[in-house]
Amino acid sequence: SRALFQTTFREVRKNFQELFRKLFGGGRADLVLEQPEAITETTPEGEVITRKAEPLDILEAGLEIVAQPPGKNPKIITQLSGGEKALTAIALLFAVYQTKPSPFCILDEVDAPLDEANVDVYCSMLREFVRGAAGSGLGSQFIVVTHKKRTMQRADAIYGVTQNEPGVSTKISVKFEEVGKLGDSERELAP
């Protein structure tokens, strides 16, 4: 229904603006319901007039995403870098998650495009979500597939997967001390 969508949209937008600033340490983001292009017409006397089109029905309108990292002025989001796009998408996903937390959240190598500093920022955000949800009965389980040392070190539990018999996957327990020498623990898991 219209009213429900409207409230969800408002809340996600507010969360997105806040989480973006947190992840990027500043800058500005926004979520805007698409408005139709203004209509230009030519009158019989040859005068060109522009008038606003009827606003799109909120249940039909698309979503525009605005994202400006601190100090920058990108015209459209495709100009953002690989890492900036990933961080912007993470801000939006978490904004939706904050509005309506699902019992669990699975993130498969979402940190792959991020540099070391941004991997830390991503992990801090995950940690904040887990803390915020704990005790409130909201979902607080995050399963993150990763190759980044930093993410492994900041997890609560680690599952190793390997294939001692090529083609057949099995589980292997990994202790935190092993992660320190990550290169080794991934190699140790390699068949």
């Binding site: 996903l93 019992p103 498969d108 597939v145 609560d156 539990a157 190793g160 294939q163 057949v168």
Partner: protein, 168 residues
Amino acid sequence: MRLKRLETFGFKSFADRMTFDFEDGITAVIGPNGCGKSNIVDAIKWVIGEQSAKALRGEDMTDVIFNGCATRRGMALAEVSLVLDQIGDRIKLDGNLSDEVAITRRLTRDGTSSYFLNGKICRLKDIKELFMDTGVGTAAYSVIEQGRVGFILESNTKDRRIILEEAA
């Protein structure tokens, strides 16, 4: 609602029976390329009702059944169970309220999929109802597949609405 345990058998590269116990907080899944990490994510998507073979990186749904390797032959079926607890009052089985539920999906080579709730056969609809309004439904924002994080920025403005509609 919380994830408690995942059990796989004959699902993709997990030929042997395997259980994963889930804790609260952040669980990292690590391992070399091709060892089976994303197959675990696929197992969870599949058991909660995923209907598209393509979304599970296959051509046909039977591509999720272990199809053999150098040392083993392919198997005849795939089965995944997901045990959830703290589900609140969502489910009444055989009349009594239960705080834990196991959902199971099984697929045989002839393509027949069957679903079970706590071991009793049920329909996909019953599984979907369990997750109604929890945000897990179409997994639009609760499961982000590998390489798809930028997807929401690249898709067109109409497709982006899905993520909000799921949360509404």
